[in-house]
């Protein structure tokens, strides 16, 4: 029974990371209707930057916040330089560009940082808590994730800038007609998605170790989470993330085995898309004209 709870808690811990990355995907999907396949590689790249800073002797949290800032700039930069030019491009062209971005970031990271697997430090102390069910890192990662999600919620729900971003995501033309500088909002959205991804990367790296492939599986789980939550719903992505994390751990341990864990995510994506494309929490916005 204890082992079961341990798996459950471990599932919640990784689920929080899937939730973060899923939230980053949803943020970009809501504002531009693009699925950013490169989201995971952006996070991986940012985590390498954090690793570099820490190796250079920076204190952990200084490196953490510097990385989040750099990741924000990177996301906003990608929007301004690349994505903006695709606004009227056909869907397939956009998909190709995002896949290309994935491969480019992947190879660039390999070239710059090497393909060796490296350890990545956790900022949380090395003592078991909660009766040994949760490692301090798992607990810390859950805490960081929940704090970040809460900050996002407050930002979008209560700040004027968050309101403008929601409005831009929903109706860019009307937003321009009330004076919103739409390009800035989109760059800001990409920046935030980059920053959230960086946090997710730095939280998962101590668990899976740092290497250029570390986010490829995580991205699939994040896609499964976003689809399960109803792509386009931020709370759905978060809850979807926790569900996928728990399912992955429990099914991986007790049913399908570790080799087929990743298939769980893919099967889930297919089942949701076939049976309930709007997802569990996909809110149908009713419009009367």
């Amino acid at each position: 029974m204890n082992a079961f709870f341990a798996q459950l808690m471990a599932g919640l811990a990784t689920g929080g990371i899937y939730a973060s990355l899923a939230l980053a995907l949803v943020m970009i999907y809501r504002s531009t209707h693009h699925l950013n396949f490169a989201q995971g590689e952006m996070a991986m790249f940012s985590t390498f930057i954090a690793s570099m800073l820490i190796t250079a002797g920076w204190p952990y949290w200084a490196a953490f916040f510097a990385t989040v800032t750099i990741a924000f700039a990177m996301g906003a930069g990608i929007e301004a330089v690349l994505v903006r030019r695709l606004r009227n491009a056909p869907v397939l062209a956009i998909v190709v560009v995002f896949v290309a971005l994935l491969v480019i970031l992947h190879s660039l990271a390999g070239w710059l940082f090497g393909y060796a697997i490296r350890p990545f430090p956790s900022p949380f102390a090395e003592a078991a808590v909660a009766g040994g069910l949760l490692s301090p890192h798992q607990l810390g990662a859950i805490g960081v994730t929940l704090l970040m999600l809460a900050l996002m919620y407050v930002f979008f729900r209560y700040s004027p800038l968050g309101l403008q971003m929601r409005a831009t995501a929903e109706n860019p033309t009307s937003s321009r007609l009330v004076g919103v500088r739409v390009n800035r909002m989109l760059a800001l959205g990409w920046g935030l998605a980059g920053a959230i991804g960086a946090v997710a990367g730095m939280m998962i790296a101590p668990v899976v170790f740092l290497d250029v492939h570390m986010m490829s599986g995580v991205l699939l789980y994040a896609f499964a989470a976003a689809v399960l939550g109803g792509i386009g719903s931020a709370p759905g992505a978060v809850i979807g993330g926790f569900i996928v994390g728990v399912l992955e751990n429990l099914l991986g341990t007790y049913v399908v085995g570790a080799e087929l864990k990743l298939s769980v995510a893919l099967v889930l994506i297919i089942v949701v898309l076939v049976a309930k494309p709007s997802g569990l929490f996909g809110k149908a916005v009713v419009a009367r004209v």
Binding site: E170, S174, R176, V180
Partner: protein
């Protein structure tokens, strides 16, 4: 004679290869109401879209002495040009109150914004009742009121209005025009009003232009346009 706020010369615009406007000249005096009339497809909506930069345009557009024909929509809006668009442009997923807050999102005078909330809730009590509701669930008339209130929240110098009567019940149209009369008296705003309902528009307007297939066919004080025989026959349902 009041000064000219908006001066348009030789405005041309269209969609893709198709041209809709063939050189339009029109003026809107500060604080006045100017009606732009015409049949379906004459280019009324296109004129408003061209003025605020939503589509490509050529010609000369001057707002209070400043050339604006090369500017982006959001920058023109920030000069004080509000737009009640065709189809109302409601932010359907936001609440009524959030829609209004979006209207004031470029303003920095918080006290003034708070006052304007009260003022426009008083103009449109229905909106106050529904301030926390998702705006997509409002009725067509309520959404039209919301579009007008949202545009006024900018405290514009110039208000472009696209068919505020479109698709609404006569009683609602009557209410909206009653409030527009009030807007005209109480707010220092010039209105460029596009309407298919010519008799309503001419009641409100000081000046009127008649648009026919992308050209100005007739212009003058509203009273003289109203008494024009051809206009009476074609647009006011009267006998020639």
């Amino acid at each position: 004679m009041s000064e000219t706020l908006l001066d348009v010369r030789g405005l041309e615009a269209g969609y893709g290869a198709g041209r809709v406007l063939f050189g339009i000249d029109l003026q809107v005096a500060a604080g006045s109401v100017t009606a732009l009339l015409g049949a379906n497809g004459a280019g009324k909506t296109t004129t408003l879209r061209a003025l605020c930069g939503l589509i490509r345009r050529q010609g000369r557009v001057t707002l209070a002495g400043q050339r604006i024909e090369g500017m982006a929509t959001e920058e023109i809006v920030r000069l004080g040009v509000a737009h009640v668009p065709d189809g109302r442009g409601t932010f359907t997923g936001l609440t009524t109150e959030e829609n209004l807050r979006m209207g004031a999102c470029t303003r920095r005078d918080k006290a003034g914004v708070r006052e304007d909330f009260e003022r426009f809730y008083e103009y449109f009590p229905r909106l106050k009742e529904r301030r926390q509701q998702q705006a997509g669930l409002l009725s067509g008339g309520e959404q039209q009121m919301l579009a007008i209130a949202r545009a006024l929240m900018l405290r514009p110098r110039l208000l472009l209005m696209d068919e505020p009567s479109f698709g609404l019940a006569p009683k609602v149209v009557h209410d909206i025009f009653r409030i527009m009369r009030r807007v005209r008296e109480e707010q220092k705003v010039a209105i460029l009003l596009v309407e298919q309902n010519a008799s309503l528009a001419l009641e409100l307007a000081d000046t009127a232009y008649l648009l026919e297939t992308g050209r100005i066919a007739l212009a003058g004080p509203a009273a003289s346009v109203r008494s024009n025989k051809a206009v009476r026959a074609a647009y006011l349902g009267g006998t020639a």
